[in-house]
Amino acid sequence: MIFKLANPNRFIRFSDRISPYLSYLFILLMSYGLFLCFFKSPPDYLQGETVRIMYIHVPCAWFSLMFYSSIAICSFFSLIFKHTLADIISRALAPLGASLTLATLITGSIWGKPTWGTWWVWDARLTSELVLLFLYIGIIILSNSFENKTKGDKYAAILSLVGIINLPIIKWSVDWWNTLHQPASISKFSSPSIDPSMLTPLIVMTFALLFFSLQVTFIRIKSEILQRKIDIIRSTELS
């Protein structure tokens, strides 16, 4: 499988073949998930109807973290094995991850308004998510600020690796800072167990979002490959 994809053109063909199925899966799962969210799941006895935000907020948060770690893994591969596919994937994932982080932040703060009474709380999780957004922005800007794409890739890879090392430290210190300034009272979401009637829509929505992200990633990878091919042709024409 991986050996088959070890060729950009074959990769493009593969993604072309698979992307309609991804779209179908996404539409199917998303509609089913929305149906479950609004028709089949009960309101929470504590938060009432606002709990329905969770079904979209939590998958976004998961994927925002997951994509950052995938970018870091790709950066590792690109620095060690110098494989261009890793660079291309991390370039394709960064905007997607950043927009999911933004979605997480916005839905989180909308969720916060009815439950906490304010749009924003300097809660440990929200703050770390905000920091994650800045890390994403830094990577995107840095990788695009070089005329030489390879160089931008390398620098962004180094930055994201430093970021993934620092992320636990940041998370930990924000937690610490949070407990220092406000005694823990707001972490009322952390319910130990979740009812199956709420878990199923959450899982369905997560998979829907996964297929959407895969679809977008394939499109972005394809455009990145095309961009590089165009650059090669242009640079040989110029010289």
């Binding site: 609004f38 009432g48 109807e49 905007p95 927009s99 933004l102 499109i219 095309l226 091919k229 042709i233």
Partner: protein, 52 residues
Amino acid sequence: MEYFLKFLESKEHLPYVATSYIIVFFILVIIFVHSILKLKKLENDFDELNKQ
């Protein structure tokens, strides 16, 4: 169904839930459309370069 009707009746919470879903879908649509448009533009460029 009754859950949905209950949800629609909850005047307090409906706008929050609705806006959050709308915003997320808006962001997803934007990133999707942006990717598609970029791809289309690059495909056009690539075809033109290959024709020359």
